[in-house]
């Protein structure tokens, strides 16, 4: 009993890690722009695909092969870094091409949200169009090792995922609290009007935010692909919506909130699936969400802004 509980606990931590990493992107962008970036789930998918092509390339599965074979661990390292960089470019490109012009024209923010939805559709279906509907299986970068601790099966992938997520948390908190750009991000979410007047370059901050968010989604994409090595164009859609929900449960715009919300959603989903028929998973998870938000409308860490009249 305890064993299966602990096993589920670990699974939930891993599952929640993915949600947390993606939820961060939603939260960061929302904090700065008040924009629900609905393309973000698909950025995660793009990350996984970029990782796929990089990894297969580095492993020499194309016509071009390196004269020497790279050790898998090194391939893993290079893939992660390059994927994060490339996906960040995609995220920033979307910002520049689709969102920024709209913002400049003073469009209602909901129009930017709709544009984000459209960008998501383009990413999904563009992928389907150019790469075809066949699923791709991700190469095994981390040789699967399963440790058995007290009767629990702990794979090294799980450990990497969980530790990476925790590291990201610490790193992000540091960036946001210690660096100038991070502080500018917080300043914007505190007072949108004053920040540009104070000489803080708004566009730089926005680009930085998209870089951060997209590269974290890419990290989630790589790790997800390693843990569940089947890629398909729509893999980001549902995960994306759910990560968004996680961000909101935590209190959107809050880094801690995104993490906690992500893990919470992971736990709810894994444990519901463990103890109830799996068809009830969404129903129960979303009912919990509905009840939770009815009681605490601004999420765990969200503070209701006092309305001044």
């Amino acid at each position: 009993m305890l064993q299966s509980f602990m096993q589920n606990f670990l699974n939930a931590l891993q599952w929640g890690s993915f949600y947390a990493l993606i939820a961060l992107g939603y939260s960061l962008v929302y904090g700065v722009l008040l924009l629900i970036n609905f393309a973000h789930g698909d950025i995660f998918m793009v990350g996984a695909y970029i990782a796929f092509f990089l990894a297969t390339f580095l492993l020499g599965q194309y016509a071009f092969a390196f004269p020497f074979a790279l050790p898998p661990l090194m391939v893993f390292g290079i893939t992660v870094v390059l994927t994060m960089a490339l996906t960040a470019c995609v995220g920033v490109a979307i910002e520049r091409v689709a969102y920024r012009p709209l913002r400049r024209k003073g469009a209602s923010r909901l129009y930017v949200v709709i544009t984000a939805l459209m960008c998501g559709l383009i990413l999904e279906n563009g992928n389907l169009l150019f790469l075809g509907a066949n699923r791709r299986s991700f190469p095994e970068l981390l040789p699967g090792t399963v440790y058995s601790i007290g009767g629990m099966n702990v794979s090294n992938v799980k450990i990497v995922v969980i530790i990476a997520t925790l590291l990201v948390f610490v790193l992000l908190e540091t960036i946001v609290r210690k660096t100038k750009l991070g502080m500018a991000m917080r300043a914007i979410s505190y007072d949108r009007m004053a920040v540009p007047l104070m000489g803080i370059p708004l566009d730089t901050v926005i680009v930085f935010t998209f870089v951060l968010g997209s590269s974290l989604a890419a990290l989630a994409g790589v790790l997800f692909a390693i843990a569940y090595p089947v890629l398909e164009p729509y893999m980001g859609a549902l995960v994306g919506w759910k990560a968004f929900i996680a961000a909101v449960i935590g209190g959107i715009g809050e880094i801690r909130g995104a993490f906690l919300g992500g893990f919470l959603l992971g736990f709810v989903e894994i444990f519901v699936a463990a103890y109830f028929p799996s068809t009830l998973r969404d129903l129960i998870a979303f009912s919990i969400l509905l009840i939770f938000l009815s009681i605490k409308p601004t999420g765990i860490f969200g503070i209701a802004r006092a309305t001044k009249i």
Binding site: L117, M118, L121, I122, N125, L280, D282, L290, T307, I309
Partner: protein, 341 residues
């Protein structure tokens, strides 16, 4: 000409369409597209009530549509046809033609009650948090249906074509088309009158400044409840019709994708513009149909077009305006005293 101009014109239009269908002057494919256009007009006009006029951000409209679709379909199949699950028909199938509006209405009422799931949290929650609640309701409705094996679960529910045939046999007319036309007219008419009355403008006041609305004597919870229930109820009616056009429904139809489609129609038309909603529902449905031969590429081309359109008209096709604002002459035609009532 006068206050009944629009009614007369619409009636004439309906007669022509029905005659075209009855006389088989147009092929069934085009007829079906026309009916989907109608469904989308109802959906986008009703969502505009909440998202445009009231300024909330509801992203789960398909959920209410699903409730209406299932309530109406299940009632009809239970009442008028013999199935394994529900047993023999309760009423004679030939009465379906008379009772169809009643079951359609019940579907709408069911959906309006589901709308309470969103309306009640909306008293305390606004904006993006409420958006999540609507999203959650959409998922809850969908997975509740998937878990109800009696009505087919994830496999879907069928038998509505039998009802449609029974109606057709009783009185030889294209009934579903007629009801689509009636419901489209009804929806536009109800919403138009609601938002043009001082009573209905209360929801616009909520959008502009909810605190001022509440302090200036607008009963904001009640107005929100009315707007949400009216909107979801009309979506339910659209769902009921939709089910009978296809003859078969399954929960997979009523996902966030469908909600997104309606959402796009609302914002494309312009927030708080009823004629914009109608216009964009018609044009988007037709454009999607037009690009159907492109298959997958359709879902790249259409979003690209939409993004471009947004860049050129960042407030939607119509913005806040109506047709009558752009062509003031129309107003003289449509209302008795030369000014909008």
């Amino acid at each position: 000409m006068g206050r009944f101009t629009s009614l007369i014109l619409y009636g004439f239009f309906c007669v022509v369409v029905v005659a075209a269908a009855q006389g088989r002057w147009v092929n069934p494919y085009i007829l079906q597209i026309a009916m989907f256009v109608g469904i989308n007009v109802i959906l986008s006009a009703s969502l505009n009530l909440v998202n445009g006029y009231m300024g909330e951000f509801s992203v789960g409209h398909a959920g209410f549509m699903a409730v209406g679709a299932y309530v109406t379909s299940v009632l009809n199949v239970w009442l008028f046809s013999t199935t394994k699950v529900f047993g023999p028909a309760v009423l004679d199938p030939s009465t379906a033609v008379y009772l169809f509006p009643a079951t359609l209405l019940l579907g709408g009422i069911g959906a309006a009650l589901a709308g309470l799931l969103v309306a009640i949290p909306s008293f305390r929650t606004r904006g993006d948090y409420l958006a999540i609640i609507t999203l959650a309701v959409n998922y809850i409705v969908k997975s509740s249906i998937e878990n109800m094996q009696v009505i087919g679960g994830a496999r879907g529910f069928m038998g509505m074509s039998g009802i449609v045939n029974a109606m057709h046999e009783a009185v030889n007319l294209p009934w579903i088309l007629i009801w689509v036309l009636v419901c489209v007219g009804f929806t536009v008419w109800v919403i138009h009158r609601f938002v043009n009355s001082t009573y209905g403008k209360g929801i616009v006041a909520i959008r502009d400044d909810e605190i001022a609305a509440e302090i200036m004597s607008v009963n904001t919870p009640r107005m929100k409840m009315i707007a949400f229930m009216l909107s979801s109820g009309l979506a339910g009616v659209a769902g009921g019709l939709f089910a009978h056009i296809l003859g078969y429904i399954n929960p997979g139809t009523f996902t966030i994708m469908k909600s997104t489609e309606v959402l796009v129609m609302v914002y494309l038309g312009g927030m708080g513009s009823l004629s914009g909603s109608v216009l964009s529902a018609v044009s988007l449905t037709l454009v999607l149909e037009f690009f159907r031969p492109l298959q997958v590429a359709k879902w790249v081309v259409v979003p690209l077009l939409l993004i471009l359109l947004m860049l050129f008209r960042p407030e939607g096709i119509m913005g806040h305006r109506e047709f009558t604002d752009i062509f003031p002459r129309l107003r003289r035609l449509f209302s008795p005293k030369g000014k909008e009532e």
